[in-house]
């Protein structure tokens, strides 16, 4: 299987797991706020974990280009938020707003899968799995917010998967563009690490603190983050 086919497969599978996020919405009429807080915190921890793993690879190639990429990544998301009319990362109340926000998240995740796959096949699989896992709670929160704006759960679960289409496109674009040199890969890894950290700080964490309280969120986020770091370190040690 070529690299492009592999990235297409990984990112499509990761995007498809979003559908699972709609399951709770199908079972209960309304999810408790605290559960949404947990979902957001798990998504935040997994995203921070992925950012950590990618930043390690980026700054190992070039600390300056990796850090510069991170600043670019955060700046890119800030600009995208400003253009979409939510500069402070406020929670969009409209259906379109929620979808734009979700698409932006998954675009960054697409770059993550592509860049990780360029580092190595196992890292690509690992990051795709982490993102697939994080797509479930993220889609759960998105489905709930769409449901609040009057969308039925079947349609909202489809929209949650569709919002992840940008993940597939961006993952392929990253593989094609960043494969040129180690330095362009360092920038791409930095961009995605910076974008992930910024997205967690602007979207996921503030919302989850409001939904479930500081201490719970700090514990849940740390456990998810620690889990990713541990799995990655174990895989790295096994590969040596």
């Amino acid at each position: 299987m070529s690299l492009t086919e592999t990235v297409l497969l990984y990112s499509t599978l990761a995007a498809a797991t979003s559908a699972l996020g709609a399951v709770p919405a199908a079972l209960v009429p309304r999810l408790p706020r605290a559960v949404l807080g947990w979902a957001n915190a798990i998504a935040a921890g997994l995203m921070l974990g992925a950012a950590h793993v990618l930043a390690v690879e980026g700054v190992a190639r070039s600390p300056v280009l990796g850090a510069l990429g991170a600043a670019l990544g955060a700046g890119f998301v800030w600009t995208a938020h400003a253009v979409s009319g939510h500069p402070a990362g406020d929670v969009p109340t409209s259906r379109e707003g929620s979808l734009v926000r979700a698409s932006l998240h998954s675009a960054a995740e697409g770059v993550a899968i592509g860049a990780a796959l360029l580092v190595s096949a196992p890292l690509g699989l690992f990051v795709a799995a982490a993102i697939a896992a994080h797509n479930v709670p993220e889609a759960m929160a998105l489905t709930e917010s769409l449901r609040k704006s009057g969308v039925r759960w079947r349609e909202s679960s489809m929209l949650a998967v569709l919002a992840n289409a940008s993940q597939v496109v961006l993952s392929i674009a990253t593989v094609l563009l960043a494969a040129r040199s180690e330095l362009s890969l360092a920038v791409a890894l930095g961009v995605v690490a910076g974008a992930h950290v910024y997205l967690v700080l602007v979207d996921l964490l503030p919302e989850s603190y409001e939904q479930a309280g500081h201490e719970t969120i700090a514990v849940v986020t740390s456990v998810a983050l620690g889990g990713i770091v541990l799995i990655e370190a174990t895989l790295r040690a096994a590969g040596r």
């Binding site: 700054v59 600390p63 600043a71 955060a74 602007v202 500081h214 770091v229 541990l230 990655e232």
Partner: protein, 242 residues
């Protein structure tokens, strides 16, 4: 001068350098809630950047040990916070919740210096020729750590002298731990990943539990997000090159 004493002396120099982190606040006057929030964001980013490096080093020595250490670090913060909440606290001009948060920041940064001290001692154990370059590198690397402490303390109303003092205090474990670690390198080396993980876990948890929620209260999310991300990667860059 014995080698052990020399390691301690070098460690003292690096601890004193931490006090320089208070310098950018010489001209800072009374703090608005927004500037407290933004200072918290900068402190968060610097602490996340420092943890990043500790985790990279820790996991290269042992992933399970590092994460076990991190879990202990989280428990340490939870227990300490509950214990501190029982007493009416004062730290210089600070009282109540401000004093509790300031004490926690100083505590986690001090805990982090313990593991750094062990790391320094073990590294010195590798050979005397590297002693001065390593000392210089750590001294410079300590300045942004002093900056993180000063940002958290000064914005809550602590004096400049207190900021510098607590910064130096937080780094004192470096020489204290570097000496025995250097002398008994074989005994300390296996503990190192636990210590690095403990420090990283305590710092990340402190950021998630106290500093970020406080930052979000009085500043916009985008400002907090940008400051944390940029200062985090600036710290990583500083630690790689200094």
């Amino acid at each position: 001068m014995s080698d052990v004493l020399r390691v301690g002396l070098y460690g003292l120099v690096t601890a004193l350098a931490t006090g320089l982190g208070a310098l950018p606040f010489v001209r800072a006057k009374g703090a608005s809630p927004r500037s407290v929030a933004l200072a918290n964001a900068v402190a968060s980013g610097l602490m996340l950047g420092a943890s990043f490096e500790l985790v990279v080093e820790g996991t290269s020595l042992g992933g399970v040990q590092t994460i076990a250490g991190a879990a202990l670090g989280i428990v340490f913060i939870l227990v300490t916070e509950r214990a501190l909440a029982r007493f009416p606290l004062r730290l210089g001009a600070l009282k109540g919740a401000d004093a509790r948060r300031a004490i926690l920041v100083v505590l986690v940064m001090t805990a982090h210096s313990f593991s750094e001290g062990v790391a320094v001692g073990v590294a010195f154990g590798g050979g005397e020729s590297l002693a001065i370059p390593i000392t210089l590198a750590i001294a410079v690397h300590n300045v942004p750590e002093g900056l993180a402490i000063s940002a958290a303390l000064k914005s809550r109303g602590a004096s400049l002298l207190a900021c510098a003092g607590y910064s130096v205090f937080s780094s004192l474990p470096q020489p204290l731990m570097a000496m025995p670690a250097f002398a008994f390198v074989h005994a300390f080396a296996p503990v190192l990943p636990y210590g690095l993980g403990f420090a990283a876990g305590a710092m990340v948890f402190m950021v998630l539990l106290e500093l970020l929620p406080e930052a979000y209260e009085d500043a916009r999310r985008d400002g907090v997000g940008l400051l944390v991300t940029l200062s985090m990667f600036a710290m990583i860059l500083a630690q790689r090159y200094l």
